[in-house]
Symmetry: C2
Subunit: 166 residues, 2 copies
Amino acid sequence: MSTPAGPAGEPAPGSRPRGIAFLLSQVGAHAAQRFAERVGELGVSPSDVGLLRLISAEPGRSQRSLAEDLGVVPSRVVALVDALERKGLVERRRSPRDRRNQELHLTAEGARVMAAMPSLAPAHEDEICAPLDREQRALLASLLEALAAHHALAPGVHPGYRRPSS
Amino acid sequence: MSTPAGPAGEPAPGSRPRGIAFLLSQVGAHAAQRFAERVGELGVSPSDVGLLRLISAEPGRSQRSLAEDLGVVPSRVVALVDALERKGLVERRRSPRDRRNQELHLTAEGARVMAAMPSLAPAHEDEICAPLDREQRALLASLLEALAAHHALAPGVHPGYRRPSS
DNA sequence: TATTGTTATACTCTATAACTATA
DNA sequence: TATAGTTATAGAGTATAACAATA
């Protein structure tokens, strides 16, 4: 470990330890950035991936429902889906039952991108966790799960869709 | 804990565990967002705080040197410092020794904002770590320190200044 | 009238390139 | 010529408000 801190979290006298909150945000931002670089090679952005995941988990869902899950305004979803449609990864289909609704579906190409994710993920995971052994990774995972659960962060939804603050 | 995963990191058969990398970025983004809300009440943004910290650690430093530390282009620093100057938190002084350089200094008000940070930080830290006991926090801190060190993340510098990707 | 999606518009963030003053 | 900072400009991201189609 690189900074002088006591062996069990006691701050060494006179040294302000880096806070956990800052470390989380710092390391988390780094992980997100590397992820962006990796999926960028597939021609998609992290927000594209998140949207594709939600759509593939429940094909046919409406833009309105996505807006609610992501915590963004509906007009934002228009832009997000526009990007995906321009790339040929999703398709809008007017719902026959309520013609106000757009049903969102992955195209074959969109499905192919999603299919590539599981093979990309382990390398990413391994890069981020590189200095930790198996046991430490398990420990870290369970601590982070506890935090995510406590703060009510939904399993597949990244807070990065929501506007930073105001 | 909220998701079905094996007791020691063995993924339960058939369940894809949330990756550590994703959890880090998710929880980290949440921590950053809450921090933004907290410091927002002091009238500053997280990037303001980061800049103030660097300047107060080494008063008189130049914009160029900040640009290098932050990993951004010099014109970006102009905007960042403009914001700080507009808020009356920092002062630009032409260096007498090399009149091309701006020496950056905190104003009294800027020093006051920085002085408020240490009293704000523990509440933030405690909110983020709420579900963890003392021992777990120490453990998490050391794991995160290891990751930060491995990925060469500098103690006070948030990757969020750097452009997401391209 | 209420709801889904869309467009128009504006504001913020950030980069690139051209420019000014100084060395 | 080279360097520190600045300005001009452009593009991405994201919100609000007004609007069209449908219910």
